[in-house]
């Protein structure tokens, strides 16, 4: 029998009304990188919260054997003390504090009653070296890019002398360079004897880094595989994750875009006064009726800025240039005006600025078009409910009812609520920013199918995406953005990932 650093045995966890985990067994060998995959809602995060003590011992059944001893954690402090470090998807750094202060936070080195800054900086430098980050530890975290912040987070975990590091979707928000870098560092840490558990939706990345892969589905362990010995590939993983094999990740589309131009943008410039620089530079492009146009580019290239500058400019950029919507010249001063003219924008970060998490599905769906369910400013409650029910049915939103709060839904279902909100407005053009970020494979397919249905009905979609296969698989045409410029236009049928990448890295 091989040496296991961790064994979780017969873990069962129930929430009111839902069994999140049932009799899950999960074992991790010492010194390996173990990837945990599964659809959203499969129970991955719940399992890791149990391991890290977020759910105390009294709230679940089963036992945890760590380093050969049964452990009972009653909080994250206990698991940290035992040598388990967890890094969440949403980073837990304090932006206004320096790198070394963040790394040593809660474990400050003291001399008497004062903190010993120099010692802490020195220790931080060593830790940063381990994650190959050559930055000054006295920089503020907010001045770092997200990729570097992620590494600081790992350095912080290492400062606690962890022997088991858990990473919850560490690469979800990173661009490809930062991803590669992060994966390399994980490999190095493995060489230094740190065991890693990594949750990820990116299967390619899982296949490149994992020694062992465990698949969870519906709160149960489906299988644990050795990547090399079992010769695991993407198809196999997807089959285990969804319980069926998805022949084609991108559903075929029958409809063809027409020649009618819905949106035309000419010589569009945006200047961000707070950053003190131009975020968009002479941008020209157009979208036809019934077309899906992909907007590719690296994170920070100006894609989202472009979308928001068109959509009523909530960031207050100084704008220059012309926008024509259905042949009409427009200049929107507020998202409200853009929506009235037939433009919709589903934002990239659903939780932060897309949905109202503490409100119900019903309230979220009608939010952008309350005029559609009211008369003289008074809401017709029944019509509102009926509307929500129809969307829940037609988009297959999985929920006990329309009164469910959006925060209780899985990522895929939240995205569907967001889509429903904009469908109820009935726009001519939907700008869809990262339509499938943080969504599992099965739900992705559903979102793609919905997109196809929409363009078949004559709507147009401008899709912003960081996932190249998605850009290539879903678009009719592709524009590539780099550093605020459109660096190229490609026909999706003939485009390759390499071609897009080359244009995206032109500046």
């Amino acid at each position: 029998m091989s040496d296991h650093i961790l064994e979780m045995r017969h873990i069962t966890k129930t929430f009111p009304g839902v069994r999140a985990l049932s009799d899950v067994n999960f074992a991790v060998r010492r010194g390996e990188i173990h990837c945990l995959v599964g659809e959203n809602g499969a129970g991955k995060s719940t399992l890791m919260k149990i391991l890290s003590g977020v759910y105390p011992h009294s709230e679940f059944e089963g036992s945890i054997i760590f380093n050969g001893r049964e452990v009972r954690f009653n909080g994250i402090h206990d698991s940290e003390k035992a040598g388990i470090g967890i890094i969440y998807q949403e980073l837990a750094l304090v932006p206004e504090m320096t790198v070394f202060e963040n790394i040593m936070l809660g474990h400050e080195i003291r001399r008497g009653i004062v903190v010993d800054q120099n010692q802490m900086i020195k220790k931080s430098e060593e830790l940063l070296k381990r994650v190959r980050l050559s930055i000054n530890p006295t920089m503020k975290v907010k001045d770092l890019g997200i990729g570097k912040q992620q590494l600081v987070e790992i350095a912080k975990a290492l400062s606690r002398n962890v022997s088991l590091l858990i990473l919850d979707e560490p690469t979800a928000a990173l661009n490809e360079d930062d991803c590669d870098n992060l994966l390399n560092i994980l490999r190095e840490l493995k060489g230094q004897g740190v065991t890693c558990i990594m949750i990820s939706h990116k299967l390619k990345e899982v296949l490149s880094i994992a020694d062992t892969i465990t698949v969870l589905r519906d709160g149960q362990t489906i299988c644990t595989m050795d990547r090399k010995a079992d010769n695991v590939n993407e198809q196999v993983l997807i089959k285990h994750m969804v319980g069926r094999s998805i022949e084609n990740i991108y559903p075929p589309r029958e409809s063809k875009p027409s020649d009618e131009v819905v949106l035309e943008v000419r010589d569009w410039n945006a200047y961000d006064a707070t950053l003190g620089r131009k975020v968009l530079n002479n941008v020209n492009f157009r979208v036809h009726k019934g077309e899906i146009v992909g907007l590719a580019g690296l994170v920070g290239s100006g894609r989202t800025e472009l979308a928001r500058s068109l959509f009523g400019n909530p960031d207050g950029y100084h704008l220059q240039g012309e926008v024509y919507l259905k042949g009409q010249k427009c200049s929107f001063r507020h998202p409200k005006e853009a929506i009235r003219s037939g433009l919709a924008y589903a934002s990239e970060d659903r939780k932060r600025n897309g949905l109202i998490l503490i409100q119900s599905i019903q309230y979220n769906i009608s939010l952008a078009n309350l005029d559609g369910v009211s008369r003289n400013g008074i809401i017709n409650e029944e019509l509102d409910k009926q509307t929500a029910n129809e969307f829940v049915k037609s988009l297959l939103i999985k929920t006990p009812g329309i009164h469910q709060l959006v925060m209780n839904l899985s990522g895929g279902n939240q995205q569907k609520v967001s889509v429903a909100k904009w469908l109820f407005v009935g726009p001519d053009l939907l700008i869809f920013d990262e339509p499938t970020r943080g969504i599992d494979v099965g739900a992705k397919y559903e979102i793609y199918t919905i997109m196809n249905q929409l363009v078949a009905k004559g709507m147009s979609i401008l899709m912003i995406s960081s996932e190249l296969p998605e850009i290539l698989g879903m678009s009719d045409r592709i524009y590539v953005v780099a550093n605020g410029h459109i660096t190229g236009e490609l026909d999706a049928r003939s485009a390759t990932q390499e071609a897009v990448m080359q244009l995206a890295t032109q500046y």
């Binding site: 959509f311 009523g312 909530p314 507020h334 998202p335 409200k336 853009a338 929506i339 009235r340 924008y345 934002s347 932060r352 600025n353 897309g354 949905l355 109202i356 998490l357 503490i358 409100q359 309230y363 009608s366 939010l367 952008a368 309350l370 005029d371 009211s374 400013g377 008074i378 809401i379 409650e381 029944e382 409910k385 009926q386 709060l405 925060m407 209780n408 909100k421």
Partner: protein, 392 residues
């Protein structure tokens, strides 16, 4: 029975407040040998609650959109003094003084909102500036005369008068105020009709409704409470104008928040301002509107308070803002924004004022009164937070 239990459990937060109010009232009734629940004291309690409830309703909306307004106490004191001056020194008719003061209230609200909405200044700071300014303004306008006695009887009736009995009768129920009884009866009938219609409509759409038995029980129970309140009020002088105004404010604001587009927009801005903005809601305008309404209600509270005292004093309005904030929190408003109801804040104000009134009847030392009010506020918020956690 099972249904009752699930309904209660689902709405424990909402019903908890009503239960707390009932409990407090019962305890004081026992401790005072029934003096607390007497018609005379109940009328007094409701009149005392008037201006705090009005302020709490406005404050509820302000807190829902994640702001705070500290200026409302001295603003209402200042505007009350302006009304008193208009009546006593300029000899304006009551309606003109009221209109002037209400308009000034709206203007003051917009003035507070401007730096908040347009310049991004925290409302705490902007309204703290208002607190200082209106305090100074109040001292200034009352400096020459000190307390200003209001000579206008029709104005004073707002705070001290009762609605006239249109059907006085010496033979039929001579002890009771008939108009109040009739209004109470109409309210009960409207309530029952509304509930039945609502249930019918829901059933048309195949939505879940209470079973017939439980629904009837609910109707009987609430009607009984409304009837009891009516009976008690009718036993003294009937409904006061203060109660009429307070109920009108609560009904109108409850309707706005629950049933109108503006109400949805207010909750959306509180729930997630960025998402609201991107959904086509003008967050700045909503902020202006909510603060303008707060200013309007501050003016109304100032009128109620001035009319009740029949005079304006240099200290009027002191700490009203904190009483209103406390009432709103007791009533279940969430400090994180986006959650809270107008009716909840009315109950919160009633809980708060019942405590004060009851302890005054018992002759409790004022220092102890503050401690107990503080503990009740703390307990209410803890209860609120813990039930909300369990729900999610």
């Amino acid at each position: 029975m099972n249904e009752l239990r699930t309904v209660l459990r689902k709405n424990v937060r909402e019903y908890g407040m009503y239960f707390a109010l009932a409990l407090i009232m019962a305890v004081f009734t026992i401790l005072t040998n029934g003096r607390f629940i007497s018609s005379r004291n109940m009328a007094n309690l409701l009149n005392q609650t008037g201006y705090i409830a009005v302020l709490a309703v406005g404050m509820t909306l302000v807190i829902i959109i994640r702001h705070i307004d500290l200026s409302v106490g001295f603003l209402s004191g200042f505007l009350g003094a302006i009304a008193a001056i208009a009546l006593a020194q300029w000899h304006w008719p009551a309606w003109a003084a009221i209109l002037l003061v209400l308009a000034m209230g709206i203007a003051a609200g917009i003035l507070t909102a401007f730096p908040v909405a347009r310049l991004g200044i925290p409302a705490f700071v902007a309204s703290l500036a208002g607190w200082l300014i209106y305090r100074g303004a109040l001292m200034l306008v009352t400096a020459a005369t000190g307390t200003i006695i209001v000579p206008n009887e029709s104005f004073n009736a707002i705070g001290t008068g009762y609605i006239p009995d249109l059907f006085p009768s010496q033979t039929f129920l001579p002890e009771l105020h008939k108009t109040t009884l009739i209004i109470g009866a109409i309210a009960i009938v409207l309530f029952i009709i509304g509930q039945i219609n609502d249930r019918k409509r829901k059933m048309q759409y195949n939505f879940e409704v209470l079973s017939a038995g439980l629904f009837t029980a609910k109707l009987v129970f609430i009607s009984a409470i409304l009837g009891f309140i009516t009976w008690i009020l009718a036993g003294y002088n009937g409904m006061s104008w203060t109660v009429v105004i307070m109920l009108a404010v609560v009904l109108v604001y409850d309707f706005i928040t629950r049933r109108t587009v503006i109400g949805r927009h207010i909750y959306a801005v509180g729930g997630n301002p960025e998402a609201a903005e991107l959904s086509g809601i003008n967050v700045k305008n909503i902020t202006m509107l909510v603060f303008a309404s707060m200013g309007f209600l501050s003016a109304l509270a100032g009128i109620l308070f001035t009319a009740r005292l029949k005079s304006a004093t240099p200290q009027a309005g002191t700490l009203f803002e904190l009483d209103a904030i406390a009432a709103a929190y007791i009533g279940g408003v969430s400090a994180a924004g986006g959650i809270g109801t107008v009716t909840g804040s009315l109950i919160g104000a009633l809980v708060y004022m019942s405590l004060m009134n009851g302890m005054n009847l018992l002759g409790t030392d004022i220092s102890l009164q503050y401690v107990i009010r503080g503990l009740v506020l703390l307990f209410a918020v803890i209860f609120d937070v813990s039930t909300r956690k369990r729900k999610s």
